[in-house]
Amino acid sequence: MILKATDISKTYSKSRKREAFSLNIDSFEVQPGSFTAILGPNGSGKTTFIKIILDLLFADRGEIQLLGHDHKNKEARQKLSYLPENFSFPEKFTVRQMLHTFAGITNTDQTDLDARIQKLAEAFNVDYLDKKIKDLSKGMRQTVALLHTFLGDYKFYILDEPFNGLDAVQKKAIMEYILDLQQRQNVAILITTHILSDIEKTCDYLHLIKNGSIIDAASKDEITEQHGSVETYYLNHFESKKALQ
């Protein structure tokens, strides 16, 4: 088991900055080699749940086993790579310097690091390795963040809205890389998104989250059989309930 979360609860009281919010996940699992998606509208709790998994936010209750360890232990994150929705790299570093520095703090194998960076840069259409981060556009920064996420030998990738700001060509190139990696190394991927086209063809398990609770979960085959497509599946759950309200 890559990830097993049980009985997770997190409540925010109403404050000046935000509305009251409560996350309640009874059970959530990610299997080795799977491509799992959490789908839901903005503010439904996707990022909060991911951050709880990574111990960036603290749950009020619940238990999480991550890669065979309690999720609070740093060993649990040894074979995990995370792409946050919002990130901040040191602006004065070049892309190459940043990748080298971050590889240093994640215990990434340093042998042939330059060659691996070059190979990944080619797969991601990156020809600005020697540009400073501060000089990059939003799409370039997102690509660099993905490059940083996939530089290393991990078993589990958590991608929070990974295709924000990317054009269709770039998105396709990166998605192809991810699928190829998954087939070659049997890695597990957990992705959160609210853009259905991102995961329509790739996901094999989907969870729908709304107002902090998982309202439905199904395999891709079940979805295709019962709803025809992921889009219909999604709309059936969110549109109809909206209409009823």
Binding site: K51, L54, D55, L56, L57, F58, K74, E75, R77, Q78, L80, Y82, P84, N86, F87, S88, F89, P90, K92, F93, T101, F102, G104, I105, T106, N107, I158
Partner: protein, 279 residues
């Protein structure tokens, strides 16, 4: 993590002003000034043209004060950035514990401060060797103690304020403006309280206890007071002058221990808050 922090600090242009200014001051003093030994191997006098000769203490006080100010402005910027949710969530999602995250910050600050203090010492050593023909190694050791210790004392407070407020400006201003007078008052509480007619046993005891809770930059200043005035009257000075004359056997280790101890409560409190902080 420490290496990332060191790299971030070494890329900080504000901090680079420190060694650059040290070199410029040395060049200016060397070319336009007149430096001579004060008749011993631990202090010197300098002047320019017809201006009167000033003690080495004056020069040391000016440049160390200026470097400390640069460090206080430059050092916290990157910890402020690291504490922002977007950066912290990236770093803490890696196999880095919050303890590593916190300790590496201080390790990096001490390393960078020592590097820049060493550069300053080397520049000063070359200047004094060439111009005055002296090598006051105890002065260099004193500076090597003084600058990092002072910066550590004030940085502990800035880190606590950063964790609490997330505001770089507020943290630096509060720490810089309040710490010296507050710790000064607590260090000499008995004198101040008696001046105000409040020197009861309770008040003195209270102030004495509080002095262990606030990083004592005043303690560092007192410890190194002789560094600032090792002129002809050095022998009369109780602290660092004693070291300059008699070596480190005369160092006030008790006061040094007090300074370190006074930094501990803020350090532990920020560490505790850091472990409970959510990103």
């Amino acid at each position: 993590m420490t290496s990332l922090n060191i790299q971030l600090m070494l890329k900080n242009k504000v901090l680079w002003a420190w060694p650059i200014i040290a070199v410029l001051v040395a060049l200016l003093v060397g070319w336009y000034g007149d430096i001579q030994s004060a008749g011993n191997n631990y202090s010197f006098l300098f002047g320019s043209g017809n201006s009167p000769l000033l003690t080495s203490g004056f020069l040391i006080k000016q440049i160390t004060g200026f470097f400390i100010l640069i460090a206080i402005i430059g050092l916290p910027t990157h910890f402020g950035k690291n504490l922002e949710s977007n950066r912290a969530s990236m770093l803490l999602s890696k196999p880095i514990s919050r303890t590593d995250f916190f300790i590496s910050e201080f390790a990096a600050v001490i390393t960078v401060t020592l590097i820049y203090t060493l550069i300053t010492n080397i520049v000063l050593a070359v200047l004094l060797a060439v111009e005055a023909g002296i090598f006051p190694y105890q002065l260099y050791l004193g500076i090597l103690f003084y600058i990092p210790l002072y910066i550590l004392a004030i940085y502990v407070s800035i880190v606590l304020l950063l964790v609490l407020t997330r505001s770089y400006l507020a943290s630096v201003l509060i720490a810089f403006l309040l710490l010296a007078p507050l710790s000064g008052f607590l260090l000499e509480a008995e004198t101040f309280l008696s001046f105000m007619g409040l020197n009861t046993e309770l008040m003195v005891g209270l102030a004495d206890g509080l002095s262990y809770l606030v990083p004592s930059t005043a303690g560092v200043d007192k410890l190194m007071v002789g560094l600032e005035m090792p002129g002809p009257d050095a022998a009369a000075m109780p602290e660092m002058s004693g070291v300059l004359i008699n070596g480190f056997v005369a160092f006030n280790w008790q006061l040094f221990g007090f300074v370190l101890l006074s930094c501990l409560p803020f350090f532990l409190l920020s560490f505790y808050l850091m472990r409970r902080k959510q990103f």
